[in-house]
């Protein structure tokens, strides 16, 4: 039990001290890190919950089941605090699916696993992000985040406060599946993943759907005093947590568990990670209604023990006590100090000369795997169920969901492994910056984030240095822009065992934002011919880790873009004011592929071209290709109706935000010039065709 509960996966023994440096408080924060999910006050008694989980190691062995059970896990987290899961967001990393059969197999099955599970439980998958890079060839990353909604007075905590209350196991039966999963997740993948027999869990979305429906109904009875999902470490992890948080103990009898096989040992039962199980703490006297609701849905529920006042976790096998340990001791493992060492970097990078035909470069970027469209993926996900999805995948920079109180919730997750590999501080702060921009682009004010930091072996000093830098990047940026981190996750030991190489550091940020009742929201697509195009934010020579570098030169080197929280705060609030004042017809941020790709993307939605002259664009000195493809943060492309132009300009000038009117919407092609010299001239139809076909082409499928 100690082995499981003190594993890296459950205990965060290598990361806890550093994670404490993240800003976690804010006026909307009701629950921060340390709970199953972060909870925000959305106003009018309505709360929003957020959580992110990964299922990297199981997905590398069994991509279909691993991805599916990953969703199952994050849904349980949202459910266990008493909120209804309303949206899923997935962030995926694979090797090059255009070249590797293995990566294709992982990719197809991970997407299918997410689709089959999410679609069946009736929670829409509304947003996501994907990158393809060789470093994920054998260790793909499968991160799933979930958003929940509920009422403030219905929140339930993972705690057992009242001695005498009963402890109930609800949901699936307990088997050997996933035994030692938590310790497995805390180790590098075995050389032959196939030989890991016990780590695979069988997903059962149908049981999860019943669990969600029945538990949400049972909460209405007021009989549920505490709740905890069973994830990594199983009972051995969940019991100490509810007891330690409640200042109590728990006594349980293993024989009361519904076991799938007769010969499961007490130890296996305690650390089993069988899916679709929830632990409920019910009132000692009033619990009949809750139990009968579970029965109505056909969800098995058995009383396995009760809350005590002795502070111990006591495990009995019939009459015999097989384990007794103080809950606090189990729940609070000792922390491990780790060494860190900055890698030596060459700083003599010289920007290579760009190819002469920049139209061709733009098209090759648009159709590259890391920039191309994601329709192949998101069409497999039901993104409409629940009738809340206002802005859908592929439609805008962030998903927008209708909340019961009339406000709209924007969510988006982002990461940038290439930039993080060059400079983990910039990469990590950059992914927060990008997710914030995406949320701002639709008209929402960023209110909170959860992060997910994925690295190799923390025992490797260079890996651990990257982790430190990433945490520092997230902390500094969030503090600078005033966004609390309400939860997160760390995943170590992500490395390719065949080559021994760690994955590229992969910090992920999921940002949530709110649009007030009756406030405006916008999409990225140019709307009207004749509308003026305004470029907001300054471009610097920041091509390190850019899509341009990897697509054209096959390199990832140079200066990674570093966001400035102070400038971003000003810019974001100015863009929000433009939207709210009704001055912005469309807003799109510049990210992967830089300004040129962003401009091309604004043309796609309504097949409207644009004529752009970059002479006045705020930028440091650089060549035309760098200007087009640099991935500097803090930039937006906004279209404004001609009569509103002076108002919009005035607003931006007063906010001290650098901007320039660079062009006009119209025509059937995107034309970009610099000081009269034509750099790019591409048909919008070609832009759409290139962008939409990238994944199908890599998979060798017809469109």
């Amino acid at each position: 039990m100690i082995d499981a509960e003190w594993s890296e996966h459950c205990s965060y023994k290598s990361s806890k001290a550093l994670l404490k440096t993240l800003p976690t408080s804010g006026s909307r924060v009701l629950l921060g890190p340390g709970y199953d999910a972060g909870v925000l006050d959305a106003g009018d008694g309505c709360v929003v919950s957020l959580h992110i989980e990964s299922h990297n190691h199981p997905s590398a062995v069994d991509p279909y089941g691993g991805a599916a059970t990953g969703i199952g896990g994050v849904l349980r987290d949202i459910l266990s605090i008493g909120t209804r899961p309303i949206a899923l967001i997935d962030v995926l990393r694979f090797g090059n699916i255009g070249e590797s059969q293995r990566s294709q197999w992982l990719f197809r099955n991970v997407v299918r696993g997410i689709a089959d599970y999410g679609n069946c439980v009736g929670v829409p998958t509304v947003a996501g992000e994907v990158e393809f890079d060789e470093s994920f060839e054998r260790n793909c990353l499968v991160d799933v985040a979930c958003v929940g909604v509920g009422r403030r007075r219905d929140l339930v905590l993972a705690q057992a406060k009242n001695p005498g209350d009963i402890v109930v196991m609800a949901g699936g039966s307990t088997g050997r599946d996933g035994v030692r999963g938590a310790t497995f997740a805390s180790k590098s993948l075995a050389r032959d993943a196939d030989s890991e027999r016990s780590s695979v869990q069988v997903p059962d979305p149908f049981m999860k759907k019943l669990l969600i429906d029945s538990i949400l109904d049972a909460l209405e009875t007021g009989e549920v005093k505490g709740m905890k999902d069973l994830g990594g470490g199983g009972l051995s992890s969940a019991l100490p947590e509810i007891a330690s948080k409640g200042g109590t103990g728990v006594e349980l009898d293993i024989r009361r568990l519904s076991l799938r096989e007769p010969d499961v040992t007490p130890l296996e039962a305690m650390i089993s990670e069988s899916q679709e199980r929830m632990l409920l703490v019910l009132d000692r006297v009033r619990h009949k209604k809750a139990l009968s609701i579970l029965r109505k849905y056909g969800v098995p529920a058995t009383i396995i023990g009760h809350v005590t006042d002795d502070g111990d976790i006591t495990v009995k096998d019939g009459a015999d006590v097989v384990a007794r340990l103080p809950a606090d001791f189990l729940a609070n493992p000792p922390l491990i100090p780790r060494d860190s060492r900055a890698p030596v970097r060459q700083s003599d990078w010289v920007e290579p000369e760009s190819p002469p035909d920049l139209s061709k470069v733009l098209l090759s970027l648009l159709s590259s795997l890391n920039v191309g469209g994601r329709r192949w993926i998101y069409e497999q996900y039901d993104h409409e169920v629940g009738v809340r999805t206002v802005l859908k995948p592929g439609q805008a920079d962030a998903a927008l969901l209708k909340l019961p109180n009339g406000r709209l919730l924007a969510v988006k997750a982002d990461g940038n492994s290439a930039a993080s590999a060059l400079d983990p501080y910039s990469g990590a702060s950059g992914c927060v910056a990008e997710a914030c921009r995406n949320v701002v682009s639709v008209g929402a004010e960023p209110v909170a984030m959860v992060d997910h930091l994925q690295f190799g072996d923390p025992g490797d000093a260079r890996v651990y240095w990257g982790f430190e830098e990433a945490v520092r990047g997230v902390a500094d940026y969030c503090r600078g822009v005033g966004i609390p981190v309400v939860g997160g996750k760390v995943s170590f030991y992500n490395e390719d065992q065949l080559t021994g190489r760690p994955i590229k550091p992969t910090p992920i940020a999921l940002v949530a934002g709110l649009v007030d009742k009756d406030e405006r929201f916008v999409g990225p697509a140019l709307k009207g011919r004749g509308d003026r195009i305004v470029l907001i934010g300054k471009t610097s020579m920041e091509l390190g880790g850019s899509a341009y570098h990897s697509t054209v030169f096959g390199v990832q080197n140079g200066v990674a873009p570093r966001p400035s929280p102070q400038e971003d705060r000003r810019t974001n609030s100015a863009v929000l004011r433009l939207i709210r004042a009704g001055l912005a017809e469309s807003v799109h941020d510049c990210s992967k592929g830089g300004m040129a790709v962003a401009l091309a993307e604004t043309c796609m939605g309504r097949s409207i071209g644009a004529e752009v002259e970059l002479q006045g664009a705020p930028a440091t000195r650089m060549g035309p290709a760098s200007l087009l493809f640099s991935e500097s943060h803090g930039r937006y492309i906004v279209s404004v109706r001609k009569p509103n132009l002076s108002k919009a300009g005035g607003l931006l000038a007063r906010a001290r935000v650098p901007y320039a009117v660079v062009g006009t919407a119209g025509g059937r092609s995107l034309r970009i010039s610099l000081r009269g010299r034509r750099l790019v001239d591409v048909d919008v139809a070609k832009i759409i065709e290139g962008k939409e076909s990238s994944i199908s082409r890599a998979l060798g499928e017809e469109q």
Binding site: G122, P205, F206, D382, E384, V390
Partner: protein
């Protein structure tokens, strides 16, 4: 008029349908758990979408043998309007109340996308307020929606005017093919001989709120308004 929305374990569009009906004048929806029965007290029954019984075995196969669907069968014989959406359509087909089968999509993948439907028959309880040829925008979301029927039966289905909806091409945007699942003859919805049992794969309940419609329309409303009219006896 009272409309039952049957909830099976695994239904997930049940609340969405209730919401759509709540916003429709002249009907009162009620969620009915599949084992509880008593459907004969209602003026119409809707089988909503989702994954009843996990879609295990075949989509709709287990629900089709449930107590509720037994009742639905008797109500259908009496001419009571029965409306199946997505998984509800699959269930009606599995129960033999509608002909044909709904096979795995031709792309072998689940597909969620907005499509255009053409109304082919406006004499059913859910299309009475439409005109023949009307184009409606709403989303599909299914993995098994490819309608199939042997050719002789298909001919008589068409001859009897029992094709209610077809996938149609409306704008340039749909250029990549308007039939999302390879359905025979582009069929998206059908009815029985008497016209009181209708099934369709697309989700009208998801196209009621104009805020959620990419084009700001609300084409799904007409389906529920038609049902209200049919029950009220109005045109």
């Amino acid at each position: 008029m009272n409309v039952a929305v049957v909830r099976f374990p695994g239904s997930n569009c049940d609340l969405d349908v209730v919401k759509a009906l709540e916003g429709t004048k002249g009907v009162r929806p009620k969620l009915v758990w599949h084992e509880h029965g008593g459907l004969d007290r209602f003026d119409a029954v809707v089988l909503p979408g989702g994954f009843s019984f996990g879609d295990y075995l075949r989509a709709g196969a287990i629900a089709a043998r449930s107590r509720s669907v037994g009742e639905v069968r008797r109500l259908a014989d009496r001419g009571v309007p029965i409306f199946g959406v997505c998984n509800g359509f699959q269930t009606l087909v599995e129960a033999g109340l509608l002909p044909g089968s709904l096979l795995r999509n031709s792309g072998l993948r689940f597909v969620c996308r907005w499509v255009t439907l053409r109304v082919e028959n406006n004499r059913t309880p859910v299309t009475g307020r439409c005109s023949k040829g009307d184009l409606l925008r709403m989303p599909v979301a299914h993995g098994e929606g490819r309608f199939f029927l042997p050719s002789a039966e298909l001919d008589s289905l068409k001859k009897d005017g029992r094709v209610v909806f077809r996938y149609a091409q409306s704008t340039e945007r749909d250029g990549r093919g308007c039939n999302p699942n390879g359905s025979l003859d582009g069929i998206a919805g059908i009815c029985n001989k008497e016209g009181n049992v209708v099934g369709m794969m697309p989700h009208p309940e998801r196209a009621v709120d104009s805020l959620l419609d990419p084009e700001g329309r609300s084409d799904g409303s007409v389906i529920f308004q038609s049902l209200a009219s049919a029950l009220g006896g109005a045109s």
